[in-house]
Assembly symmetry: C2
Homo-oligomer: 334 residues x 2
């Protein structure tokens, strides 16, 4: 069997590879009773005293490396910060492993590093270690691991939603993926569309600091909201019912998605969070999210139920199944 | 200015890129008063309670990915474990960011994962998080970040050697680099040479557990022992005098090095440690090292002096300067 693009595209094909070939071969997958690799959550944890160290990593091969709204440097910081944030952790430190092709412009590396610096200041994290290699790659690759801290036992899992919970998404979906596609293919759309890439730690913190409990949380990256909701449903053993007319989607994304035949539910976001919260807290949490610039389009999109498994969507013409995509339809999206 | 191979080869060319373009652009480079990126040590630290979290990363693009003595999986574990070990830390957790080319054999990924598993068991570390992407690369790339723990204030720096200290290297040098070169180029040497790739945490621990203080320590990877000794000298403001006839070099490495015109002092090791220790402890530390299978060829190779800067080597025909190499002579060595 050979690797195909789909093995790196964040859907069922990749999940199978990770479960069988990667996780299936590893015996040491957790430390000190913390959340281990077998949870396949956004990050894992290591209990230490009255805290847990939260640890995650993402590799970035986005093409093109500069795009409206961001670049590979900004994604490298935000992707990792966001995986820590959806664990309820405070992100503190990043590592940067950079792979460069021969002939790469040092001026472009300089631009990328400046962008990394800006994103780090925005997210209040530090780059404390790194590595640099030159290899046979078509463009720069940046792999950023990250460390965050959370109180012992306070990590938010992606498996924790409860029957009756309300599902909130923090803003318009599909913008990152469609921006990458438009930029790369040189489509002739006149478009103002840009990537949503941003660090969501401040946004998540505003909810947690107000004393609300978040039962489950993910950042809907590769595979989009469809992938994240399915994972939350599967891991909790419950179902999710969302409402098409409540999904925050800009007219532009709607139009471009339809024109290209790509469902915005399945494409990557890089500055969004989806959470399951208690019904009685949901309106207050929505208000808090809307105060933050990154949450101004936040919406309640559905509820958690034990009446079915998986994800269903109420549409004008009845309910349809929202499946886990085989993979994100846009290659090299992040 | 364009990136060349040398920018990823671990010598002065790479150091300049890191200092100017990478470190030079970053404002947030340390956390909580810990050892930060500006130290350019093997790893950085984050104080937390009565401990320090130690954090490091290495990207691996070694070619070929399977070679006598190891493979890219084993290097990915050991490289990161070793950077944590030379900080005096106990390595506990790794992340694995894997970049795959389309068409890569899943059976080979399976072999690599099995090798990662074996190395993790040897080093007593766990893989707790990872990421998988498919991109335009000529072979698999693995970037492994790692977390270790050390008592507050107990991290061993690469800058800490003192006048009168003795320099010990834990075994034969040059084996990894020359193995890679021989394997890649299909040279016609009949050779038993294999890579030394191994986790050195147990070896270092045996010295620290015996209560000895190590003043400075590094793992002599890209750029070899020449690079590490120069860095230790420069950062301490002192000089090192080593003795050619005391360097642990196998006859085979000596012969191949001479045949190919490559100085074993400048090529990568993947299972060695070089340390500066108090003269009065040096014989006892040497004995402890020699008990461990990975330390059986350990040798005292020199001393620390204030009489000159940099690294000098006493040879049959007098002293010569051992410079920091521009870069490791063997590309894609790790
Ligand atoms: N190469 C790998 N080695 C070990 N674990 C992996 C590897 N690739 C993925 N995983 C694990 O699989 C789970 C899913 O990974 P995935 O990358 O899809 O999550 P994510 O980072 O939240 O999403 P994205 O990468 O799209 O931002 C995570 O728990 C991750 O740690
Ligand atoms: N891309 C990068 N971003 C941030 N810091 C970097 C980067 N590349 C290297 N560094 C820092 O520069 C210093 C030297 O890195 P280097 O990779 O040479 O160390 P090493 O890992 O000990 O050696 P090797 O990679 O040969 O095993 C380290 O402190 C490292 O954190
Ligand atoms: Mg995630
Ligand atoms: Mg992620
Ligand atoms: Mg390195
Ligand atoms: Mg090192
Ligand atoms: Mg290293
Ligand atoms: Mg990931």
């Amino acid at each position: 069997m050979k690797i195909t693009r789909m093995h790196g595209a964040g859907g069922t094909v990749m999940q199978k590879l990770i479960k069988e070939t990667i996780l299936g071969n590893l015996e040491n997958t957790s430390v000190n009773g913390g959340i281990g690799l077998e949870s396949l959550d956004d990050a894992s944890t290591i209990p230490l005293g009255d805290k847990e160290i939260v640890f995650t990593v993402d590799g970035h091969t986005v093409k093109p490396i500069f795009f409206p709204g961001g670049d590979i440097g900004r994604i490298s910081v935000c992707g990792t910060v966001n995986d820590l944030s959806v664990m309820g952790a405070t992100p503190i430190a990043l590592s940067l492993s950079i792979i460069l092709p021969e002939g790469f412009d040092i001026e472009n590396l300089d631009k990328i590093m400046k962008s990394i610096n800006e994103a780090c200041k925005e997210a209040e994290v530090s780059v404390i270690t790194g590595d640099t290699k030159v290899s046979n790659v078509d463009d720069i690759i940046i792999s950023s691991a990250g460390i965050g801290i959370v109180g012992l036992g306070n990590a938010v899992r992606d498996s924790g939603m409860k029957e009756g919970d309300v599902i909130i998404v923090s803003g318009n979906i599909g913008e990152h993926g469609l921006t990458i596609l438009l930029t790369r293919e040189g489509f002739e759309f006149e478009s103002e569309l840009k990537s949503d890439v941003a660090p969501i730690n401040g946004l998540v913190k505003s909810v947690l600091d107000a004393g609300f409990k978040i039962n489950a949380m993910k950042d809907p990256t590769r595979g989009g909201l469809a992938d994240s909701l399915n994972e939350m449903a599967e891991k909790s053993g419950l179902g999710i019912l969302i409402h098409e007319d409540k999904l925050p989607i800009s007219n532009e994304v709607q139009f471009i998605g339809e024109a290209l035949g790509i469902d915005p539910l399945t494409v990557a976001n890089e500055g969004k969070v989806v959470m399951a919260v208690r019904a009685e807290d949901s309106e207050k949490i929505l208000e808090i999210l809307k105060i933050h610039p990154l949450g101004k389009n936040a919406k309640i999109i559905g509820t958690v139920t034990s009446e079915h498994k998986g994800v269903l969507m109420e549409t004008l013409v009845g309910k349809r199944i929202v499946d886990t995509p085989l993979g994100d339809p846009i290659p090299r999206v992040c």
